[in-house]
């Protein structure tokens, strides 16, 4: 029974990682860049949603919508100002710029929202399910997060495989130059990717802070790194991979701290990641890179 409840907690944590990882993996798949600022966009989304509810009294769904819009605008702006001029630059230059953006967002948030932590009111009012006389509790937020994660994953997969824009994204991801020759507008495709990724970040922010209800300007950074790890774990660029990677990471973290050591829980997570990458060098669901001569 204890094992089951650990497993459920692991899935709960993992689904939050998964939802963040989806944003990471999408941007990576299309723009081929590690967007280290993604975690901080999540934090901004959570703050916007919090203030939309507490200051303007918006209902939860509306505050999530507002947060998604703000994050979309933010994501596209960041892309335009900071990443677009570096389209042809070495990938490391883009990485460092992303880190600069991450610092910028964290410090701007501290100035704008203050450094005091805020307890985030849960977006999910539903109490959860109690099984076996309350020995096993599945909280409402866990259910909502897992469902949201699945819905987003399916929607993204459909979008990428069935729509024209999705096809353009796949084309850009495959070969930027060839896509451009075929009449795909590479710039707007990448902007679109950032827009979707950032909107997802807003949703992830609300769910993250509903599950672990403290919010401060540095809230996004550690989950951001964990989610990045999750994305690589599942095979970066792969949408189902991000979901599986996130869930596994959460489960490993909880089970590792339960059965190995709470002191070394992070070390256990990262050690498993290394082992997985050694066995499957491109992650669990990653495409095998064929070498071209």
């Amino acid at each position: 029974m204890t094992f089951l409840s650990y497993l459920i907690n692991g899935i709960s944590l993992g689904s939050v990682y998964a939802i963040i990882a989806l944003g990471y993996t999408m941007v990576y798949g299309i723009a081929k860049m590690l967007n280290f600022a993604h975690g901080d966009v999540i934090m901004v989304g959570a703050y916007v949603s919090f203030y939309a509810t507490s200051l303007y009294g918006l209902p939860t769904w509306a505050s999530v919508l507002v947060a998604a819009i703000v994050c979309t605008v933010l994501g596209v702006t960041i892309e335009r100002l900071a990443y677009k001029p570096l389209r042809t630059a070495p990938s490391l230059a883009v990485l460092i710029t992303a880190i600069g953006v991450s610092y910028f967002l964290q410090n701007a948030a501290q100035l704008a929202f203050g450094s005091s932590p805020i307890v985030f009111p849960s977006a999910v009012k539903f109490e959860g399910i109690r099984l076996f006389d309350g020995q096993l509790v599945i909280s409402g937020i866990t259910i909502v997060t897992v469902l949201a994660c699945i819905v987003i994953m399916i929607a993204l997969t459909l979008f990428i495989n069935k729509t024209k824009m999705g096809r353009a994204m796949r084309a850009v991801s495959e070969d930027k130059g060839a896509a451009q020759l075929m009449g795909v507008n590479v710039n707007s495709t990448i902007s679109m990717t950032f827009a979707i990724g950032s909107a997802l970040a807003a949703i992830a922010g609300v769910l993250l802070c509903s599950a672990y209800p403290t919010l401060q300007p540095t809230t996004g950074s550690m989950p951001g790194i964990k989610a990045f790890t999750a994305a690589v774990f599942g095979g970066i660029g792969s949408i189902p991979g991000a979901m599986i990677g996130g869930l596994l990471l959460g489960v490993i973290q909880i089970l590792g701290s339960a059965y190995i050591s709470t002191q070394l829980s992070d070390a256990v997570v990262f050690a498993v990641l290394i082992v997985v990458l050694l066995v499957k060098p491109t992650g669990l669901m990653g495409k095998k890179m064929n070498e071209k001569v």
Binding site: P85, A93, I99, G100, F104, L111, L277, L278, M289, E291
Partner: protein
């Protein structure tokens, strides 16, 4: 004629780098003895030296080997804690501080090297971003482990533990903690000096320049530029890469020891992924593969945030903006055009000189 030149372009560039470092050392030392250096700047000298060495070390991995490492702070951490441990426990055996410092740096480098092999053997089989994430993971593991390390010293000798202070079972009267879990090193006698940092930079440069020019170094660069071609001529890819990575880890370890022995107390949190990123920023901003650039960028970017103190609350915001702007400016069209024009001019000048020489030769 080309033979007339005593040095190749490569060694000339090395000599310029040495000259810059030595000149900077002399100028700063003179300023320091004249009392013209503010306390802030003199306090930053040793960490700047440590960051320079770490940046050169990382540049070896990123620039020469062409692989991204996000865990170099982990090697610094190993070097720092082992170095401090050695220096503190040898305090009675080797009373002369500079020798103790050298011993500490050597041990720090060796242990970081061991860690480099442990990490390098599995990690170097991976490529690109997967390698980056594995190094990041190792860095985090090292941080996590270091937070649980307790080392104490009493009459009976050294005590190690991974649980907590009491588990060491030390003699209460004479027991003294050397490494105290999350608090890190405590009550360290500071023995790092600017001169030792300067010497370490010179040694690092000497080793790295020679390495780049060695058989292994050239093999590593060949692998970076075209792995398949390099392997087809018989270069053992895993072996030479491992040598370069080991070398890089050892230098970072020495830098860590220098850094750790400059502060009375340093916690393991210092060497987290943010510090790895910080060193990477030095490398990228200074120019990937360009050692001189790493030196200058490390110096400036360590001093810069301190200079921004006048902005008080807006300090880190200003730093972030500067970072983005510098990256954008470094890759802007304007700079590219400028560089192209300049290279063109240089080429023209060289050609003209060659032509002139040729005609002179012909006349004679």
């Amino acid at each position: 004629m080309l033979q007339k030149k005593k040095f190749s372009d490569y060694s000339r560039s090395c000599i310029v780098t040495y000259a810059i470092v030595i000149a900077a050392f002399i100028i700063i030392s003179v300023l320091k003895t004249m009392g013209m250096l503010s306390s802030l700047l003199s306090g930053l000298l040793v960490p700047v030296c440590a960051y320079i060495v770490a940046a050169i070390a990382l540049n070896l991995t990123v620039g020469i080997m062409g692989e991204l490492s996000l865990g170099h702070a982990g090697f610094m951490s190993v070097g720092c804690f082992s170095g401090v441990l050695v220096a503190q426990s040898l305090a009675d055996v080797i009373p002369f501080a500079p020798v103790r410092l050298v011993v500490a740096m050597v041990i720090g480098a060796l242990l970081a090297g061991v860690m480099g092999i442990i990490i390098g053997v599995p990690a170097l089989r991976l490529k690109g971003d997967y390698l980056a994430i594995v190094t990041l993971a190792f860095g985090e593991i090292i941080k996590n482990l270091m937070q649980c390390v307790y080392v104490g010293k009493d009459v009976n000798g050294l005590h190690f533990g991974m649980k907590d202070q009491m588990a060491l079972g030390m003699d209460a009267a004479t027991g003294k903690m050397l490494i105290n879990g999350p608090m890190g090193t405590v009550s360290v006698t500071k023995i790092s000096t600017f001169t030792s940092g300067f010497v370490l930079i010179l040694i690092t440069l000497f080793l790295v320049f020679n390495f780049m020019n060695s058989r292994t170094g050239r093999a590593v660069m060949a692998l970076r530029d075209n792995r398949i071609a390099a392997e087809s001529v018989g270069i053992h890819s895993t072996k030479v890469k491992l040598i370069a990575f080991l070398f890089s880890a050892m230098l970072a370890g020495a830098a860590g020891a220098l850094y750790g022995l400059n502060y009375s107390s340093i916690g393991p949190v210092k060497f987290d992924y943010n510090t790895s990123i910080l060193i990477l920023v030095f490398v990228v901003l200074g120019g990937i593969g360009n050692m001189r650039g790493s030196i200058i960028a490390a110096a400036i970017l360590t001093v810069l945030p301190e200079m921004l103190r006048e902005f008080s609350d807006y300090r880190m915001l200003a730093y972030a903006i500067l970072l983005i702007v510098m990256m954008l400016a470094n890759n802007s069209k304007f700079k590219k055009n400028f560089m192209e024009k300049r290279n063109l001019k240089q080429l023209e000048r060289k050609e003209a000189a060659a032509r002139k020489e040729a005609t002179e030769h012909g006349n004679a």
